[in-house]
Amino acid sequence: MDKQAPQVRPNRPNVLGSASTFSAALPFLALLLVGISFPLFGGGYWGVIATRACVYWVLVSGLNLVVGFGGQIAIGWVALLTLGAYTTSVLVAGNVTPALPPYLALAIAAAVGAVFGLIVGLPALRLRTFYFAITTLGFATIVTQVALAWQSVTGGGVGVAGPVFPEPFSSQWGFYYFCFGLAAICTWMTANIAASRFGRALTAIRDAEVAAEASGISKSALLGTVFLFSGAVAAVAGGLFASLQSYITPDAFTLDLSILFFIAILIGGRGSVLGPLLGTILLTVLPEFAAPLVAWSTFLYAVLLLVIVLAIPGGIAEILDFKNRRPLESDRAIVPRPDLLGPLLGAAPDAGTLTLEQVSLSFGGVQAIDGLDLEIRSGQVHGLIGPNGSGKTTTLNVISGYYAPKRGAIRLNGAPMPGHGLHRRAHMRIARTFQTPRIVGSASVLENVMIGGTIDGEGTFVESLLSLPRHRRDEAMLRDTAMLALAAVGLERLAPVRADRLQHSELRFTEIARALMLRPVFLLLDEPAAGLSAEEIGRLGAFIRAIAQAGTGVLVVEHHPDLIFDICHHVTVLNLGKILAAGTSAEIRAHREVVNAYLGA
């Protein structure tokens, strides 16, 4: 955007440099070589197995974004394979329309799949996990039943011939290379998404939904896009599957297949592309080595699923993650560098004032806040204190759009803010942290911080899919800004580390770094000092002061009176949802009622 390039570049650890990009791509390159040269050592039947693995992967690669990254438990994705297979076959056979060329039919199937992917997926936006799982399961059953009943089009139980792709893809190896090529493209595209702001946003929705929304990520828009993509590739896989089978009946699309796709992702590990790819190959090939067990394959998949869930929830990807097994330094100190806030936040325009006027909110019979007036000015630190249950966090939640106030108004420079809509607050540059840090544990610290800047990316989903220049510019910008934010809070050495390996205090500073990515005009901190050592609290105080000096208005909810009186220009004391006292730090410190009710003698 309009931010100048940061003047101060912190030392970047080399883990993110080109050497590591290469080592990350190495397994993919190896698989690519094996895939290309496969016809040299495998023949006949193995060619069919290899083709099948490619076809499955085309579907799984898309489903991986839904399940592995987005965390949506879509069990019945075989429905989209069925849909794609029948659409392609029926169009090529000419049962309803004049016979179409196979490529056109495949493209139409992709479009149909995209639409149905969206339809099957949409309930995920409204429903709880188990409900969504059941609806996808129900959909899978329905599609098969329709295929069976709609005889004039699908041939019913007798089935329909699959499409044959013209030369050079009509021979066995020709068709293999066609499928392999598509599988390779899908791998590349989903890996691009995985490494983009969209991939990170998906994992944020999965593991820290509230934080994702507070960072301005719209769950419905993002998941909708992913469902479109995933539905399209699943339908393409269906078309290929029909061609590979050469003849399809509804029996070919059992739920077992759906379970295979799903388990391939979980074995591989959530939030990885390589893991599910290996998982797909493993599950396709495994039954071939154990011919007597073929009848038991679904049973074995189920056992595998149970073992993974109970024993290794991280899957193959976690086992292969050697980098994060190296021990971290034990005595790490967080030393923030307030001097970096200038380049990070840029020259903040005077944002004016955020006002709450007579705001009230009740939950059932409990009056959480009652007629609250509050004024947060840019460039100042405003403290909000009070005993537990006095309405501090609720106030913060009202400001960040989590709850709509029952009465009263919130105004930004006099203009009323819409009552509801968490993710819209980020676009007004209002950022927040949480009482318990909301972090994506399986992502690196750097990626977590980059999530905070999601709305500043300019490229679209399709641009990221194809790794077009705008996507690469976004990524470079987000990475540089995030490194700067991490350097500012004093955590740049931990940038490549998995976030769930961090100490509590480090998570708090990570959250602040993530919030700073928004270049907030107002920053809401919910008990930032909880769980910090005295030394860390001192540094935190100085850092918050510096954030305000850079022009941001800060609201701090805290229980540490010393910190509050040290750093706040204004303090509001709440009790039972009402204002007990408000004034400058000095005034509050001397306020008799406050001392009696809250601070103690």
Binding site: L127, R128, F130, I134, T135, V210, F299, A302, L306, V309
Partner: protein, 285 residues
């Protein structure tokens, strides 16, 4: 025809309602929806047919053994698929662990029992009539379970303990209630109810492994529509579902009946995610 729709619809509806209660009993004790609910129904039918038709045991013995089988599977579910993942309820791992267990039992049944539907024995040696035992048995079972649960929850100490656990797990534990044993007892109870559903509906549904996913889905519809944990809502929704499905079956044909049920389910849920009789819970920050 109307008579046939009503008797079949109510009978099927009772089976759905019982599976829904199975879901609810497990949910109340653990906050977990388990994919094994339909599997329990399937097991009731298969075990009944195994003990009575194949092994030739007396009906009463076969009935008791089928219920014991359900209780055992309920307890196994709790130990294998629920307890290990309760610590991380927010990660929804239970969806996967219970699905895995349900699939294992379903596949095992398909391979070791039969992949084709097997006949279920007639329980009472009376002539087939208009209002046959295959219709009134599920209704009787449903009524017995409703009355039994009501008595259990209102009149007995262990019933009060169940309610306490369902209401507030932490508070109940703080009071010294043996939460783990109560949860296992709940799952055993759910197992009995699920097996009873399959056993009572055996003649209609037959002893067929694929009844498991069918009942898992149609048994969940009343849970979703009636509001989770709400048994009365589940019974009403279950009966309505049975009637609606049978009516659609006769009027537009079986396939489109399934499509209609599915469409209604989705539309109602999207309009009211908390169910027709449920209440919304505020999200927590």
């Amino acid at each position: 025809m109307v008579e046939s729709i009503v008797s079949t619809g109510l009978a099927i509806g009772c089976i759905y309602a019982l599976i829904a209660i199975t879901y609810n009993v497990m949910f109340s004790a653990s906050r977990v929806f388990s994919f094994t609910a339909g599997t329990l129904g399937m097991l009731g039918g298969v075990l009944g047919s195994l003990f009575i038709a194949r092994m030739g045991l007396p009906v009463a013995v076969g009935f008791l053994l089928a219920l014991v089988g359900g209780a055992v599977f309920g307890i196994v579910t709790e130990i294998v698929a629920v307890r290990p993942v309760l610590k991380s309820l927010d990660q929804h791992l239970y969806v996967l662990s219970t699905l895995a267990l349900a699939l294992m039992v379903q596949q095992f049944t398909a391979i070791e029992w039969s992949t084709e539907p097997q006949p279920f024995p007639r329980l009472f040696d009376i002539a087939r009539g208009g209002f046959d035992q295959q219709f009134w048995l599920p209704m009787l079972a449903c009524a017995a379970v409703i009355v039994g649960l009501e008595l259990l929850y209102r009149r007995t100490l262990i019933g009060h303990a169940f309610l306490a656990i369902a209401e507030d797990n932490f508070a109940a534990r703080a009071l010294g209630l043996p939460e783990r044993s109560l949860r296992m007892a709940s799952f055993a109870l759910a197992g009995v109810i699920g097996a009873l559903a399959g056993f009572a509906g055996g003649e209609m549904l037959l002893a067929f492994f694929a009844n498991a996913p069918m009942l898992t889905f149609y048994g969940f519809v009343p849970v979703a529509l009636g509001g989770m944990g709400n048994n009365r809502g589940a019974v009403v929704a279950g009966l309505l579902l049975g009637l609606f499905q049978q009516a659609a079956n006769f009027l537009v044909g079986g396939i489109f009946a399934s499509v209609a049920v599915f469409a209604v389910f989705i539309i109602v849920l999207l309009a009211r995610p908390e169910g027709l009789a449920g209440v919304t819970l505020p999200r927590r920050v």
